[in-house]
């Protein structure tokens, strides 16, 4: 009787989980399958899940309707560049917060934590103005007047979101767990601080580097509000902005839109599936990431 009850509970649990997983995955399936249907099958009742004719031509046709290739490339540039910058600068800062003593350390670290809590919308407009009036760029003079600064450019897309509080926080957590003896030994051997960081500490930070790289790439690829406000020309749009522009057409062509949406989700999904353990590790390493 007891065993039977236990068994029943497990079955109910499994049924609930399966239902839950279906609710989570169905929209993604519906997206990918819509992208592969002919127009006739999209507008039929009752709906067809599996296309009878696999219309792969939707993808090249969508790419011809809007410059998704260009959008894709811009997003890639933005995400990769932000990842490179964040990994280096946040690691340096996280290392210093964990291992070095300097004036104002606690206050600066408090600033890092505070930055994480401030919603992007709060700083959106002033950040836009900083980028627009950045001195000596985009035709601006020394006082930041006369030109467009970094608006509608790669530096403008990349730089403002390139160093994150989360990454610094994560690196600090990681570097505080390394044994002290290591650096003492290196210092006794006459190793410079700079050398110590690059040659000894950073190579040990592999797991933290991987977590930060993955999260930063994901954030860069998925970014929307910032690229939306600072890009003007079609040639500078990122894939997420491009997706919303494509919807502004009078009649939405769902097969093409879903093809574009599939393309917009694929890289990050691939990263997630390949490096899943790093996502979970990132959350347990920091004990957070909401």
């Amino acid at each position: 009787m007891r065993r039977w009850l236990g068994h029943g509970r497990a079955t109910v649990g499994h049924a609930l989980l399966l239902a839950g997983a279906f609710i989570m995955l169905a929209p993604f399936l519906w997206m990918a399958l819509t992208a592969l249907k002919t127009e006739r099958e999209i507008y039929t009742f009752p709906p067809v899940w599996i296309p009878t004719v696999w219309d792969w031509a939707n993808f090249p046709e969508a790419l011809a309707k809007a410059p998704f290739g260009r959008y894709f490339y811009n997003s890639l540039v933005m995400a990769v560049a932000q990842t490179g910058i964040n990994v280096v600068f946040a690691a340096m800062a996280g290392y210093a917060f964990a291992r070095l003593r300097f004036r104002g350390r606690d206050f600066l670290f408090w600033l890092v934590l505070a930055k994480m809590a401030v919603p992007v919308q709060v700083t959106l407009i002033p950040s836009f103005l900083v980028v627009k009036h950045f001195p000596l760029l985009g035709g601006n003079n020394l006082l930041g007047q006369g030109g467009t600064g970094m608006l509608n450019s790669y530096p403008g897309l990349i730089v403002p979101g390139a160093v994150t509080g989360f990454a610094i926080f994560l690196f600090r957590q990681f570097f505080s767990t390394l044994p002290r003896d290591l650096e003492d030994a290196a210092r006794i051997d006459g190793c410079s601080e700079w050398h110590l960081f690059w040659r000894i500490m950073l190579p040990l930070a592999g797991p933290a580097l991987a977590v930060v790289a993955i999260f930063t790439f994901q954030d860069g690829w998925n970014a929307f509000l910032w690229p939306l406000v600072i890009t003007r020309s079609e040639a500078m749009r990122t894939i997420q902005v491009g997706l919303t522009v494509f919807q502004e057409d009078v009649t939405i062509q769902w097969d093409y839109l879903m093809a574009g949406t599939t393309l917009a989700t694929l890289p990050v999904m691939a990263v997630f599936i390949l490096f899943q353990r790093y996502f979970i590790r990132g959350i347990s390493m920091s004990g957070l990431k909401g």
């Binding site: 997983a21 993604f28 999209i42 039929t44 600033l111 809590a117 406000v229 839109l257 004990g287 957070l288």
Partner: protein, 280 residues
């Protein structure tokens, strides 16, 4: 000091300066196009009379009060089930977390298609069951729920993973001792799991509340704030006023209110729960 300077220089330029800047901006009528004047508190006075802004505030709080209890309860339930040695755990965990890694714009686009009044998946399903189709996003009474549902769906998995990490930190021997004392499963849940999960719960609650202030992409894609402002949020208003109407001073005042709400919320949390909670 040298090690932190690049990152701190970046923070100074793109966070500290903008936070101070938005305060200044909110006392002006800056608009990119026309000359700028110092207007004192006029933006704030206008905000007080702005029906749409009040609607946006109400909507933001409504999203908080509806979505947080539901998504936290679902996330906790899923975490408890997945904490057991169940077959396919890794698969389920990944499936629930997937919306968190996917671009919100893409998610909102897919849901727009699902909600589509004529051939969307939702209405096809309703019609198959013999029910009348509904235009969830086109009806001012239901549009906000349509947005909230997507928001819950999108944020549940991330909450679940935090609960799961919290559950795994609870020592097994507590449950063993409770079982020996004859405590049932429900008793174990309410007397051990829930109290010991409190830090994780507070963390999910606080980050969840802060996250609602950022709700923008679903609204932008699915409803653009409509119909008749039924789904507009503070974040959406800041964007609209600042970058559609170019009333940047006015949008700045809205951003300051938003910042104030975040500060109050964080301080309140510090006062009420002296638990060690980190924000991200």
């Amino acid at each position: 000091m040298f090690f932190v300077s690049p990152a701190m220089l970046h923070f100074l330029t793109f966070t500290t300066l903008p936070v101070l800047g938005v305060l200044l901006l909110s006392f002006t009528d800056y608009s990119v196009i026309r000359d700028t004047h110092w207007v004192g508190l006029r933006n704030y006075q206008d905000l007080g009379r702005d029906e749409v802004f009040w609607t946006a505030l109400r909507n933001t709080f409504a999203i908080t009060f509806v979505s947080l209890p539901v998504s936290m309860a679902l996330a906790l339930a899923m975490a408890v089930v997945l904490n057991e040695p169940i077959r396919g755990r890794v698969f389920y965990r990944a499936a629930f977390y997937l919306p968190k890694v996917t671009a919100t714009i893409a998610i909102a686009t897919v849901w727009l298609w699902i909600y589509s009044p004529q051939f969307g998946l939702l209405n096809s399903g309703l019609r198959s069951l013999g029910l009348r189709p509904v235009d969830v996003l086109g009806n001012p009474d239901t549009a906000l729920y349509g947005v909230v549902a997507v928001y819950i769906w999108r944020t549940m998995g991330a909450k679940m993973v935090i609960f799961l990490a919290g559950l795994q930190a609870i020592p097994i021997h507590l449950y063993e001792a409770a079982r020996i004392d004859g405590a049932g499963r429900w008793h174990q849940f309410t007397r051990i799991t829930l109290p010991l999960l409190a830090p994780a719960t507070f963390f999910v609650l606080v980050t969840g509340m802060l996250d609602v202030f950022k709700v923008f992409e679903e609204v932008y894609v699915m409803t653009n704030g409509g119909p008749v402002h039924a789904t507009t949020t503070i974040a959406h208003q800041v964007y609209l006023q600042g970058f559609q109407y170019f009333r940047m001073g006015y949008a700045g005042a809205q951003a300051v209110i938003m910042f104030g709400a975040v500060v109050v919320l964080t301080a309140l949390n510090r006062l009420l729960f002296r638990e060690k909670v980190d924000y991200a």
